[in-house]
Symmetry: C2
Subunit: 245 residues, 2 copies
């Protein structure tokens, strides 16, 4: 047997190169290395990762299924560019899936899970009050929702939701500057949801969650508009740009 005390025992290294590349590309897209609608060129990615094109291609096929890139045959892959209908779809499906996840998760939370949720709510409140950048806020917010979906203990529901999570992040997380003055003070809404979960009040929790997601959808519409306006000056598709491997 191998000794486990090797300093960087990389459990992840048994996973396919494809999966690691997928995660890296995913991160790169989600961190704004690619503009929405811009090309994702196999050869460029492969070169920057120092691998051949084969695993990159497979990663791209997987990412297309996750809904953040789109392939045009014989043309290449492009970061998705959302329309208003897409945003409607993403959030209506999120509402459907998350409310169901919540229904299942209430009663399944243990002390640790609730403590984690409370910590996320606190950090989120601090981030909002401290005017942290939108990316940080969205990340914490999505972690809150992610926890609910994970605790629901429904792998297929989680899988479907996770796809929407990536697209949501792409929608809002890329926007660097946006006024975050939701009328309902998101911090409170998260605390309200969590309190309802703790009290086992599914109806209240669901209603609050739904309201929160409706607010988030409005934010997403605004964020996407903002992002497009920011991008408007540059007319050329600036392709892969920097993109640290």
């Amino acid at each position: 047997m191998l000794d486990n005390d090797s300093p960087q025992f990389e459990t992840l290294s048994i996973v396919n190169l494809r999966e690691r590349i997928k995660d890296r590309i995913c991160d790169a897209i989600l961190h704004g290395m690619f503009r929405p609608g811009s090309r994702v060129v196999e050869a460029t990615i492969a070169e920057q990762f120092g691998v051949s094109r084969a695993p990159v291609r497979e990663a791209l096929v997987a990412l297309e299924r996750e809904g953040i890139i789109k392939s045009l045959p014989r043309r290449g892959y492009f970061v998705v560019d959302f329309t208003d209908k897409d945003i409607d779809e993403i959030f209506s499906l999120r509402r459907l899936l998350e409310v169901e996840a919540l229904r299942r998760a209430v009663g399944r939370f243990n002390a640790d899970g609730l403590a984690e949720m409370q910590r996320l709510v606190d950090q989120l409140g601090a981030a909002i009050r401290g005017n942290s950048d939108i990316a940080r806020i969205i990340e914490l917010d999505l972690s809150f929702h992610d926890t609910i979906c994970r605790v629901a203990n429904h792998s297929r529901l989680y899988e479907a939701w996770n796809s929407m999570r990536l697209q949501t992040w792409l929608l809002i997380g890329l926007t660097s500057r946006i006024k975050f003055d939701s009328p309902d003070q998101p911090h409170d809404i998260h605390q309200t949801i969590l309190d309802a979960i703790k009290a086992g009040d599914v109806a209240l929790a669901s209603a609050s969650l739904t309201r929160h997601l409706v607010d988030a959808e409005a934010l997403a519409h605004e964020a996407w508009r903002t992002l497009h306006n920011e991008a408007a000056p540059r007319r050329r598709d600036d392709g892969a740009a920097e993109f640290r491997p």
Copy 2:
């Protein structure tokens, strides 16, 4: 401009080889060429299709996202083998998605759509009364549900549902012999749902649809047990078996 009257203007041929192979493999699995849990070997598929392994690999990555095969790193791909929890998940998610799709679809149906639905219901009734094989019945049944989901006009919801469709087919469609004596006479339930859609009665349609899916879940459990018992004698994983390219 090209003249459109060329006899075999094959619009489909612009699609990736990967996509065509994906569909072929998918068909092969869904038609029982592979047993649940059996290996899906790249080289074998590639050879039988007369192509190299590259597009096959990409097709397999896509199919894994569709939920009918599963990859074990460095081990290969296997046709999924469901547990009771998987069946619960598949049908609980189907209920969630289809009821929402129904809610959206009611009011969006036009005359053609309703006629198509009626035709499906009639064919389904004939198939059941005529004791057609289960595959035919499941196919018609899933087409009925598919139509609802398509008319809902929600691409992400449809995508999520389609994944469950494939898995449902894998669950039930492979079973060659199973007594089809559902207590609620499925034909009637489909007609009930369709009538409610025509009447615009969302509540009744949803309730009927939900009840139908609960019945279907019971059938799926039974079908899967049957399939496993059928497969039990053969202990060796018989791999790719025949599988016509």
